[in-house]
């Protein structure tokens, strides 16, 4: 493994975690906390007609049983889509809209008692018809649209006219599967009532201030009456926007006792959050020489029972279109409702699906026209200085997307493409020949993502300095080992010249009122890091001015833009046509994430993303039966790759500096994921010479493709 970059300082929180000194949220207990579980729907769509809870209420240790008729549960407010509450959903309803939907809540003194009582509940269900697949939702046309305005759409120029007259028009339709984030730590929440009538919410949420806003509205309290604490999280990947905190809060309010709720792994697949399964259509018009004249991307994302963060997720598909600017472009993003578990903001935020489709389409174009994959991307991809059309706002009345005219200030994508090509050539010469009966293919793909949400992002930091002691307080959270504390310490230490052992970093609860928009969109170093840097600069100025005593400063930082990071992936895959088995022999990732502050942590992010991309590409899939129940039989069947399933991976960080940011950084947390699946599929298609229908590229789908039963391309 090779890294270009600076040397790695010691990992601050990593060491403590490795030593087992860090208490994760799922280990958290408070004195006298009750244990809560939910009766969940075994059906994809059903009405709970009634439930005989008499025996459960009398069972040992049971403190409360809440049915939908026992309380008028308010809706979970959900995130706002711009100013619109499109994600509002009932916290507890007798109508179960997906398998695993909670219908009855139960709290007991011990977990065993809670499970014992759960067995005593006698639900009376009426199974209802529903829409249990994306295919079904697609066939419903507009009726399945989850957003009131229909599809999000954007057009530039007149693509239709170009399609009508271009020399080459190619269209591909690809599918990606519903997958789960696969965080090690289960979903959990613990809610405590306070003596003052408020609540302390412990949760592994990515955006504590947003949860506080929603919880206060949910419980009819002021913001000050709700405190959200986010202990270290054992993996989030964006998927912790579940409703557990709201369910626990209902019970905590009812019982006036702390209530803890945690999902089992199998429950987490149903009641947690998953990545949208998708159908994607990409159409391009080109000259014979491969100049891109027009492109159209239409996506249908399966959001499951509720929109949740889906409106934003589907919008982010636009980045893959923006990466290859054509004069004439069109984007249509549909969010379709099905009676399946709720899809939301899983790592990459809608971009992995779309990048997959666009990059596989690009490779097929190159094959069709006989032009080099890298050459096509080098010529066609967006460059520094260009307007990034994927940054903008949606008119929530019409669904029209309006670009803001944001300019890309840095791009080392050409470097990343070059490096991937070089790595591929080196790998090919070093790899042993493939086994008899196997074919070898090479693939490349590129991606552009985002760093935060622009001006809407905020992070607040306070810095306190006396010689030999530097205290940093931040509202940022450590989502699943992103190592944010290490980076904040590093930044503060460098500005104020203090060694690591003199620095204390506190990641504070919302009570500290250090507003932070949350650990999403690869943005914490970019936003929280800048806030710490800015506060340190203020302290530095006062120190230089000779001010005595402890010096302190506070900064609330809003970034100027959302500096897109770039990445490429090159891969070598061996395929056995007789079985469809694929073996990834090598992957190389070139990453432009601006200045790499902490190479070791950055490498961890890229390798983790590569692993997630490999699972997405080859194995992972949540299967549902025709009536909406989970058909994936076990974790082993689901197919998250293990460390031993990983091929050799090279990672190269581009020597890049983001001009628009004081530290020169861009986001690193997601970009590595995007190009992996298309690079792997491009390699498989190159090996077998046939198109695949989508993801995952299971042995059977590859075998079928080899027999000419493959993808949809017209």
């Amino acid at each position: 493994m090779t890294i270009a970059g600076e040397s790695s300082p010691a990992l601050r929180d990593g060491l403590a975690k490795a030593r087992g000194e860090v208490a994760f949220g799922s280990e958290l207990r408070v004195a006298g906390n009750l244990f809560a579980i939910a009766l969940r729907s075994p059906f994809g769509h059903a009405q709970l007609l009634d439930v005989d809870a008499a025996a459960a209420r009398c069972a040992p240790g049971v403190v409360a049983v809440l049915t939908p008729w026992d309380l008028s549960a308010p809706d979970v407010p959900g995130d706002l889509f711009y100013d619109q509450p499109l994600s509002r959903r009932p916290a507890l309803s007798a109508e179960a809209l997906h398998v695993g939907a909670p219908v009855v809540l139960l709290a007991a003194e011990t977990l065993a008692q809670a499970y014992e009582a759960l067995r005593l509940l006698r639900p009376n269900w009426l199974e209802l018809p529903g829409q249990f697949s994306l295919e079904g939702a697609l066939s419903q046309g507009g009726a399945a649209e989850a957003l009131p305005f229909g599809a999000v759409h954007w057009q530039q120029g007149d693509p239709q006219a170009i399609f009508a007259q271009a020399a080459i028009v190619r269209e591909d339709i690809l599918r990606t599967s519903t997958v789960q984030a696969g965080a090690l730590e289960p979903y959990w929440a613990l809610v405590e009532p306070t003596a003052q009538g408020g609540f302390i919410v412990h949760n592994g949420v990515a955006a504590p201030f947003e949860l506080r806003r929603q919880m206060a509205e949910f419980l009819g309290l002021s913001l000050q009456q709700v405190e959200v604490r986010c202990p270290p999280v054992g993996g989030g990947f964006g998927s912790r926007s579940d409703d557990l905190a709201f369910l626990a809060a209902l019970l905590a309010r009812h019982c006036q006792r702390p209530v803890r709720m945690q999902l089992q792994r199998s429950e987490g697949w149903l009641a947690g959050r998953v990545r949208h399964g998708a159908q994607l259509r990409v159409r391009s018009a080109l000259t014979q020489q491969g100049r891109l004249l027009a492109r159209e991307l239409e996506v249908w994302y399966d959001t499951g029972a509720f929109a949740d963060l889906g409106p934003y997720v589907v919008l982010r598909a636009l980045r893959s279109l923006a990466l290859y600017p054509a004069e004439h472009q069109r984007f249509i993003g549909h969010l379709l409702r099905t009676n399946k578990p709720v899809a939301s903001a899983t790592r990459g935020f809608g971009n992995p699906q779309a990048t997959f489709a666009v990059e596989v389409h690009n490779a097929r174009i190159c094959k069709q026209l006989g032009i080099g994959s890298l050459e096509f991307r080098q010529k066609t991809a967006i460059r520094a200085g260009a307007i990034n059309p994927s940054v903008g706002v949606v008119d929530t009345q019409t669904g029209a997307f309006v670009p803001k005219g944001a300019r890309i200030s840095s791009s080392a994508l050409p470097w990343c493409l070059q490096r991937a090509q070089q790595g591929l050539e080196e790998a090919i010469t070093h790899l042993p020949a493939c086994a008899p009966g196997w074919l070898r293919g090479q693939g490349v793909a590129a991606a552009m993502h985002t760093t935060g949400k622009g001006r809407a992002e905020v992070s607040t930091a306070e810095v306190f300095w006396t010689p030999g002691l530097l205290r940093v307080r931040s509202g940022a959270t450590d989502q699943g080992g992103t190592g944010v504390a290490s980076v904040l310490a590093q930044i503060a230490g460098q500005v104020l010249g203090e060694p690591p052992e003199a620095i204390v970093v506190e990641l504070c609860s919302t009570a500290a009122e250090l507003a932070d928009s949350g650990a999403h969109a690869s943005s914490r170093t970019f936003v929280a890091g800048a806030a710490v840097w800015d506060a340190c600069q203020l302290v530095l100025a006062r120190r230089k001015a000779g001010e005595p005593g402890e010096l302190s400063a506070r900064s609330a930082w809003h970034p100027d833009g959302n500096a897109p990071p770039f990445a490429t992936c090159a891969a070598v895959v061996d395929v056995e046509p007789a079985t469809g088995l694929c073996q990834v022999r090598w992957m190389g990732l070139g990453v432009d994430a601006g200045r790499i502050l902490n190479p070791r942590q950055a490498l961890g992010q890229v390798l983790g993303a590569a692993m997630m991309g490999l699972g997405f590409a080859l194995y992972e899939r949540l299967d549902f039966t025709a009536d909406g129940r989970l058909a994936s039989l076990s974790v082993a069947d689901y197919g998250t790759p293990r460390a031993t399933d990983m091929p050799p991976i090279d990672v190269w960080f581009a020597p890049s500096v983001e001009e628009s940011h004081p530290l020169g950084v861009k986001g690193i947390g997601e970009i590595g994921l995007m190009p992996v699946a298309p690079a792997l599929v491009n390699a498989i298609e190159a090996a077998i010479g046939r198109p695949l229908p989508g993801l995952p590229a299971t042995p059977e789908s590859v075998w079928r493709a080899c027999r000419g039963e493959g993808g949809t391309c017209t």
Binding site: D623, A636, Y638, E700
Partner: protein, 260 residues
């Protein structure tokens, strides 16, 4: 409740007193059940169930021998190559070290086709009697439902030490650690052949035939009740069974050379 007998007679006494008790071997299937875990567990970790005995014509394993140990012991016995391959193909290694021969066989795990092909015998016991049965009669017919009568223990698995036997096992998975979507085990003694199939059918399937009569094997494979599920379609499984059989038959001469 967790019952910990010290020997076989104590085990049956405890089981008699707690008929609902569920035996725990390696526990890799029973223990992860979480809240659905049985209320009374009966630990099988007693010395009498962990022995390995060699006689002139047999090798007899206690059911508590781990899959990993089984692989190690059989590695040097070419006639039982198929069982060693099946044991080694069991992933991941952490579970392989924990899981037992008995637990795997009784839930119809990866070892079952290989054990059936080589003609293994299951020895079962209740508090009154001991019975010897062909291995396939203890493998579940319905997934997840054990086939042993109530309060009956698998106490040993006997493998034949047949010098002229050669055997081979091959399996194919959809995901790195998922169960096989198709598995084929073949054992040949002289011209006699035993073929067992797992993964592709709801139950373990077996045929006995003649090594020279390939057409009969193909017909048998064609007529199997191969099922489709999210792991793989019936058509794919059917095709893979034919391919794996082909490979097994091709590999047998190599296996016999190894055994010579």
């Amino acid at each position: 409740m967790y019952l910990r007998p010290r020997n076989l007679s104590e085990l049956f006494e405890m089981w008699h007193a707690h008929p609902e008790a569920v035996p725990v071997a390696g526990g890799s299937r029973v223990l992860p059940l979480g809240p659905q875990r049985p209320a009374v567990l009966l630990d099988l970790a007693i010395a009498a169930l962990q022995t390995i005995e060699k006689e002139a014509q047999f090798l007899t394993f206690g059911p508590m021998v781990s899959v990993d140990r089984l692989a190690a012991v059989l590695a040097s016995l070419p006639g039982l190559h198929a069982v060693a391959q099946a044991a080694l193909g069991f992933v991941p290694v952490q579970v392989r070290k924990q899981a037992t021969l008995g637990g795997n066989l009784l839930i119809g795990g990866s070892l079952a086709p290989a054990l059936a092909a080589v003609g293994a015998i299951a020895i079962i016991k209740n508090h009154q009697e001991i019975q010897e049965l062909p291995i396939q009669s203890v493998v579940p017919v319905q997934p997840g439902r054990l086939r042993l009568p109530a309060q009956t223990l698998l106490v040993a698995v006997r493998l034949p030490l047949e010098p002229s036997m050669v055997s081979y096992y091959a399996a194919l998975r959809r995901t790195p650690v998922g169960p096989a979507v198709a598995a084929v085990a073949v054992a040949v003694v002289g011209s006699g052949l035993r073929l067992a199939v797992g993964g592709a059918t709801p139950q373990l399937q077996m045929m006995q035939g003649d090594l020279a009569d390939r057409a009969a094997m193909d017909r048998w494979l064609q007529d199997l009740p191969v099922t489709g599920d999210p792991r793989a379609s019936a058509a794919y499984r059917q095709a893979m069974l034919a391919l794996l059989l082909e490979r097994a038959l091709d590999a047998l001469p190599t296996a016999s050379r190894q055994s010579a």
